[in-house]
Amino acid sequence: MSADPITPVLTKRWLSPQSWRLSTYEKLEGYTAIRKALAGTPEQLVQLVKDAGLRGRGGAGFPAGVKWSFMPPNEDKPHYLVINADEGEPGTCKDIPLMMADPHSLIEGCVIAAYAMRSHHCFIYVRGEALHCIRRLNAAVREAYEAGYLGKNILGSGFDLDITVHAGAGAYICGEETALLDSLEGRRGQPRLKPPFPAAAGLYAAPTTVNNVETIASVPFIVNGGADWFRQMGSEKSPGPKIFSISGHVERPGQYEAPLGTTLRELLELCGGMKDGIPLKFWTPGGSSTPLFTAEHLDVPLDFEGAAEAGSMLGTTAVQVFNETVSVPWAVMKWTQFYEHESCGKCTPCREGTYWLAQILERMVAGRGTEEDIDTLLDVCDNILGRSFCALGDGAVSPITSGIKYFRDEFLALCEDNRAKQELVGAQA
């Protein structure tokens, strides 16, 4: 198999008629990796994924093979594989389309990953809002059971696996892996103290690995293509293909598969460039939790290292593109309102901080801000970043600090409008 950067891997079946059917999947190499995987040992699979350098596609980029190797080798307690399909990062739409178009690639990945981690029960935790996706996954799981890809003694291998599709209920925080586990247990989805880490005590205090949809869907391709093939794509430290969801002011928004390390300039070519030719003003490389980029960053390689070196993060590769018609303070306010709404409330910095930040930004956008407010915003952000219980707080301040960093003038302009208005009122009095 060659590794032409343009040849799609993860999305290769998406345009086939009824791509989500088992029959389509089987026609297009589906469920071939599972046979190879089940013929080998769990240890071989973990090593293969380590060798391939597959990094988590949920945002943090932790090496998947290393994560798998944390699972205890014994089976004193049941092992759980949990798929994080709570895709809720604003602007991110890669996992839901993947599960809609090619649900069996996820299921096949689950079987292989579960086998590698000696797990016999896998939960797919799907965002509650994605009802259409839950229906489709359930149908695909049914098909897989009927065809013997799930259940007892899969393909005569002696390996058993059950998959439960679990619907979330509207809480962004459940994308955080330990909050997701609490939610799966039927509780309020608030993050847990770590340690213990899920591999030691996760779901129902049993060894658990939580992986992102796209990560697991990549696994069958690695099993079939091998580690070297996988490493031909992307960069040295961030190998493999990636689904970029491109939205906003571009001609053809959508999901575009490209190797890690692709730049926005290249991505814009794929999606037809800026909509109506209006120039780019700012963009997020990986959802609203990742600090903003501007036109300066068109050539930043979008992989874990490249995005970080340029002062942001790869995140979920949710590329949201905004043109010059969009006010940065307004966009930042909208994002902040989202984080305020979704803060789980557990810790002080995130709960109280997002409450405060949203109010300041709302006041500024309404034309009642002062220059002092900009300093307060930055200082409050500083008091949240790295001080909150989980990463939600860190994500919440990204748009604000980066927005002010690159577009301070726009914030100042709002304050000046305010001052002008006040002077006008004073003059009239």
Binding site: T92, I96, P97, S247, G248, A331
Partner: protein, 160 residues
């Protein structure tokens, strides 16, 4: 006692939902989804029954219900329209669609029309960013919406 007589059948229906998930561990969320499917919302009256069935405290159940924004404590309209207001959809006209919807139905986001026909809700990203403005109407996904299409879809839904 009024509560008792009205409660009898409610309690039976609640127990039936619980029974369907009896073998599952930590099944509170699936059960609450089931209750909402059964009744259209989660009446506070249901909380003590669930608490008793699941051997949880009422505060515990109430705490879970109120944590997740999908669970309603009041009945929704015959049709539920969830409009995406995330940035991607906003950049392609979601805010105008919200304003239009509010004007057409005469209610604000989060409200139900007085005749109980439509509930308007906001949602942050439906994962349909490429086809914004997006909305979920009675559980089905729609993209590239504008005022005309929204009204059409709801009118069709009413006929069906």
């Amino acid at each position: 006692m009024a509560v008792e007589s009205a409660g009898a059948s409610v309690a039976e229906r609640v127990r039936a939902v619980v029974e369907a998930h009896r073998d599952e561990r930590g099944a509170l969320l699936p059960i609450l989804h089931g209750i909402q499917a059964e009744f259209g919302y989660i009446d506070p009256e249901v909380v003590p029954i669930l608490a008793a069935e699941l051997n949880l405290s009422r505060a515990d159940v109430h705490g879970v219900v109120t944590f997740y924004s999908d669970f309603r404590s009041e009945p929704a309209g015959a049709a539920t329209v969830r409009l995406c207001r995330a940035e991607a959809c906003q950049s392609v006209g979601a805010e105008k669609l919200v304003a239009d919807a509010e004007q057409v139905f005469g209610v604000k986001l989060g409200q139900t029309t007085p005749d109980g026909s439509v509930t308007l809700q906001q949602v942050f990203c439906l994962g349909n960013c490429a086809l914004g403005p997006a909305a979920q109407i009675n559980g089905r996904m729609y993209g590239r919406l504008d005022r005309t299409r929204l009204v059409e879809i709801l009118a069709k839904g009413a006929e069906a």
